[in-house]
Amino acid sequence: MYKAVSGSPLLLEIGVETMYDIIVIGAGPAGLAAASTAAREGLHVLVIDEYMKPGGRLLGQLYQESNGNWWNGLEESVKLNEQAVNEGVKIILQTVVYDIERQDSSWIIYTENIVYTSKQLLLATGAAESPVPLPGWTLPGVMSVGAAQVMTNVHRVKPGDKGMIIGVNVLSAAIAMELQLAGIDVVAMALPPLNQLTHQHSRPKEVMEALLHASHLAPSKFLRIGSKFMTNPFMRQLGIRLYPKSGISMWGIPIQLRKAVTEIYGTNQVEGVIIRTIDINGSPVSGTEESIACDFVCIAGGLYPLAELAGVADCPFYYVDELGGYVPIHNEKMETPIEGLYVAGNITGIEGAKIAISQGVVAGYSMAIASGKQGLVENLQDSIKKVHETRKQAAIRFHPKVDIGRNIIHKQWEARQVPSTNDATII
């Protein structure tokens, strides 16, 4: 058994660092904001991240907001990192946390070389991309759309010269535009083939509905007018039936909602894709095969909260579609039912980076209060309000009904609260 008990030879061998007040796992926008907030209150804070740069998924983001301003994730990451360092936060990169354990009212955090300990623990591990299986998806040159984003915007390496995007959603639309800004030819975006694992990504009607909520992103008359025009289901059906065969062009990229990629081909690497016309339910129409040459393929299956460490800590979960999948149960103060365990950012549901930052601030105050810091109750309450305001103004909505999702999870929290006579956490 690899798990060591304190004082065992293993712990001595790999080295244990001094106790921190707070450890944050994940140096994304949520983790960095939480760390700065708590450190400003005088707490001893450590942030651990497995990646080589701080910033998490914020690093790759680059898009124009509806007010015309550009959101440059790389610059925002530098700012958040500097702020944390200035507040005295210690940040350790390229270090994987592979296990966590609660022992004698503190947390033991296992990394490859050092075991860290803390009184409070924040999981800000973000989100991961869902895969979409189709024939040929294991060929070299096929990658997730997020990988293409990181290669292009973070490492400044072209994933290829000519790419095809499979999966049409808010994220892949935003990244398609980013690839194009970097001078990479995106030949088209189309749906994945219909199978037991791809259904909601493969039915033109469902994809269209999801896209309509993001229509502010699309400088296309069809989608923009569409969003007002197609508020009733009948019009939506009509819309998808009348969807032009050649697709609709967004930033010069054809978006094919009536075509699916049924195969990726190539001998040693991607050489192209086979694409077919599909009916409104996603079934391919025979005799419509065409082949499109390309040298890389991006797969976009959407995001889900990356909550593996919460699972290891035995934190209870609840499945909420609107939040992207299984979410650790938590309240508005970012507390989980496990003592000393907090969550913030995309681990609590898929939303944009600004919301992750505002949730991080809430978690920072909650942990500071739990660490015995006085006079922060108002700050905490204000920071919770800020989360709501930020959500209202969000530029990108990954799920149109995210508010409903948030309510579901908070109800789950309330349902778990058994009235107790000495509940010290109630403010």
Partner: protein, 89 residues
């Protein structure tokens, strides 16, 4: 390419048709599906295929929303054996 040959779990090379057949034959949960086919038990610890295997349990999810279909276990990332207990290599 044969559609039946779509690989779902890369590490253990389990195909979609194999999963569909097993799920239909035994009417099993995502967890049982994993144990029967080894899908999700490979080197990456299911980090690549887990959501796809979970999706097979989707119909049963209504009753089971508060339980993660496939349990998370440490180590959540591959770690060299030497680091886990033995002498450092």
């Amino acid at each position: 390419m044969d559609e039946k040959e779509i690989i779902v779990c890369r590490c253990e090379e389990v195909t979609l048709s194999e999963l569909e057949l097993t799920a239909a034959t035994y009417n099993c949960s995502a967890r049982e599906l994993k144990l029967r086919t080894r899908a999700g038990m490979g080197f990456c610890g299911g980090r690549t295929c887990r959501t796809m295997i979970e999706a097979f349990g989707i119909d049963k999810r209504e009753k089971n929303r508060n339980q993660v279909t496939l349990k998370y276990q440490a180590p959540v990332r591959p770690v060299p054996f030497g680091k886990l207990g033995g002498k450092t290599p």
